[in-house]
């Protein structure tokens, strides 16, 4: 069982110690304590490197001290001739005498006691990332305001994750910016814009101060951007190493700012905005777009009007215009609609006449009606030719949309009356 104190005496103390003796004492004090080991008497054969007789003090398998020879107290008020303090709670003391001691040596008397170890200062490595608090038998770590202690009870971090940005324009900065950002932190930010927008980041060089990369080029503190199918960074250094603007192809972005234990840099600030996705501008001789713009983007609405002689057909209904909206995927709605030449259709037949089968029945086509000659003739002299008009009707210059009439030819016998004279 660990003890708070103890006494170690060489064999046969205070008499001369015997030859050829090796004795080991295992000292253990409770956890959280160190060992104060002090000798009140030390009288051993002196040899080079204490090769003959010695008292070894070993900790963790490593010889901390090796004593031999004689010691006397330096202070008349203190019996201590030699003392050590070890920040460990276990030690081994090993007394060794060889086979030959011509003189009479009385050995040693040592005492140990448990002393509090200041874990915060006694070691090279500081156990806490921020504040270390020592107490007898232990220590605890604590954190500055707005920091929290991680589960390891040693490192402090800042709760800087979870923010989701949905506005079309915004600004994001590292915690405490422009004051130094916290160590041991992983800050995650999300930008989530609605479909139809593409994120553009702007980071000025002077708005970026993150612990520079090491000699191998690795960033210990880093800022990384991840969009759909794109990654930018990691970035670190004094001054933003990337471009002034980063244009992503995504409406969402994940930002990760990772920091390690060291560094006193002010951090970073960025601005973002959402660029509406453009839709292609389609130039057609058959239609007019209103409004006329050099560029169309998400949510833009255009009225597409067909020029004369053209129409858009949806189902069985034809119209001269339609509306189209630039959608979030960069495509126009109603993209299947287009202005097509007006089709006047098959011309209507007429009584006692005919119309030749037209090669085409679209806007601009021409057809000719004729009457069944020689028994019928066209009432309007120029009434035979019709053209497909812009309104989808066959139109004659004189009759308009009215069909021509074939009128019987009067008074013309097929055969002359022959008087048969005898």
């Amino acid at each position: 069982e660990p003890t708070m104190y103890g006494e170690i005496l060489s064999p046969n103390y205070p008499q001369a110690y015997p030859n050829e003796v090796v004795k080991t004492w295992d000292i253990e004090v409770p956890e959280g304590f160190g060992i104060h080991l002090y000798f009140t008497h030390l009288d051993m054969e002196l040899s080079e490197n204490c090769a003959y007789d010695s008292v070894q003090i070993i900790s963790g398998g490593i010889e901390e001290e090796r004593l031999c020879g004689q010691r006397t107290s330096k202070s008349p008020n203190s019996p201590t001739v030699e003392e050590f303090q070890f920040p460990y709670n276990r030690l081994q003391v090993v007394f060794t005498s060889d086979f030959s001691n011509e003189e009479r040596f009385t050995g040693f008397a040592a005492y140990y006691s448990a002393v509090d170890v200041n874990e915060c200062t006694d070691f090279t490595d500081v156990p806490c990332s921020h504040f270390c608090n020592n107490f007898i038998g232990g220590y605890f770590c604590s954190c500055p305001p707005e920091y929290f202690l991680h589960d390891d009870m040693r490192t402090c971090g800042v709760n800087c994750s979870g923010d989701v940005f949905t506005a079309l324009i915004g600004e994001i900065a590292s915690p405490n910016y422009p004051n130094p950002y916290p160590e041991n932190s992983r800050c995650e930010y999300q930008i989530r814009l609605q479909e139809g927008f593409r994120l553009v980041l702007t980071i000025r060089r002077e708005d970026f101060d993150v612990e520079p990369a090491d000699s191998e080029g690795n960033c210990h503190d880093s800022l990384t951007f991840a969009a759909k199918n794109q990654q930018f960074g990691p970035y670190c250094g004094n001054g933003f190493p990337g471009p002034l603007t980063i244009k992503t192809q995504s409406n969402t972005l994940d930002i990760v700012f990772q920091t390690d234990l060291t560094g006193q840099n002010k951090g970073w600030k960025l601005r973002y905005h959402g660029d509406p996705i453009p839709c292609p501008k389609e130039i057609s001789a058959n239609s007019i777009w209103e409004p006329e713009k050099a560029k169309y983007v998400f949510k833009d609405v255009v009225k597409i009007t067909c020029v004369d002689g053209f129409e858009v057909v949806e189902g069985n209904v034809g119209s001269t215009s339609f509306y189209s909206t630039c959608q979030s995927n960069g495509q126009w709605s109603n993209s299947r609609l287009e202005c097509q030449p007006v089709d006047c259709g098959v011309p209507e037949p007429i009584e006692n006449g005919k119309v030749e089968d037209p090669e085409d029945t679209v806007f601009g086509s021409v057809i000719h009606y004729t009457c069944e000659e020689p028994y019928y003739y066209m009432e309007q002299e120029e009434g035979g030719e019709y053209h497909c008009a812009a309104n989808g009707s066959w139109v004659n210059d004189q009759l308009g949309v009215e069909l021509p009439k074939c009128i019987p030819v009067c008074g013309v016998p097929t055969e002359p009356f022959k008087v048969q004279q005898r």
């Binding site: 009067c410 008074g411 016998p413 055969e415 009356f417 048969q420």
Partner: protein, 251 residues
């Protein structure tokens, strides 16, 4: 037809055959037949044919039968009880509207109406054509269409003919300016030809083209001179009647 010759319907494609009583008519439009009032008097649904030279049943079967929509007798035609003693044939003109349009072709075609110009005034000596299936010198009824060419003459010539009808006296017959007299050398129309056209060539036209100058109306004696209703006097009435009765037919 007296003094005429057998002919083909192609020479008189406007000729309409009225079945009973036998008579004639002139096709003037797809929907209208011009005839004499006395032909359709008392018959609101005459049976008519066009397009056939012969009156044989099998031929008529292939001809176009015309269905009557309505008969419109001239309002000034004087109706009399005894058709056999009639002496007043003034305004002997009527129109028959057809239900369906007539299909024209080589055997069926209308005859033109006279125009208003003086060129269309019938004059003595003008040679006109008549046609029909009426009585001939030898037969009361004929099967094949016959035609004849005869000149217009003065109305006095028709007046001077002695009566054939013993029931009527020569002086009782009415002669008006609505009548044309025509005939020569025995060329004449007769019973059964009534209503048919007296066709004259259209003036100032190069190709042969005819208009209906008269309608076979009456005569004192077949084979002498015949009287024809002067159609030019009735053109306005004809056009007005056609106009007023055109459009969708009422059931």
């Amino acid at each position: 037809i007296f003094g005429g010759y057998s002919t083909k319907i192609q020479s008189f494609p406007w000729q309409v055959y009225f079945e009973s009583p036998r008579g004639g008519g002139a096709l003037i439009d797809e929907y209208w037949v011009l005839t004499a009032a006395h032909v359709v008097e008392g018959n609101s649904d005459p049976v008519m044919y066009v397009g056939s030279t012969l009156l044989k049943i099998e031929r008529l079967r292939n001809a176009q039968r015309l269905i009557t929509e309505r008969v419109i007798i001239h309002p000034s035609w004087k109706q009399e009880d005894d058709l056999n003693t009639r002496t007043n044939f003034d305004n002997d003109i009527a129109l028959v509207q057809l239900k369906d349009p007539v299909k024209m072709g080589p055997t069926v075609a209308p005859i033109c109406l006279p125009e208003t110009s003086s060129d269309y005034n019938p004059s003595e000596g003008d040679l006109g054509l008549i046609s029909g299936w009426g009585r001939t010198e030898n037969r009361t009824n004929v099967i094949q269409l016959r035609g004849a060419k005869l000149p217009i003459t003065s109305l006095e010539k028709c007046q001077q003919v002695k009566v054939e009808n013993p029931k009527a006296r020569s002086n009782d017959y009415v002669f008006t300016d609505n009548m044309i007299c025509a005939g020569e050398k025995g060329v004449d129309s007769c019973e059964g030809d009534s209503g048919g056209a007296f066709a004259l060539p259209v003036p100032n036209v190069k190709d042969p083209k005819f208009y209906v100058a008269g309608l076979v109306s009456w005569g004192k004696k077949c084979g002498t001179y015949g009287i024809y209703t002067k159609v030019k006097n009735y053109v306005d009435w004809i056009l007005k009647t056609m106009q007023e009765n055109s459009g969708p037919k009422k059931d």
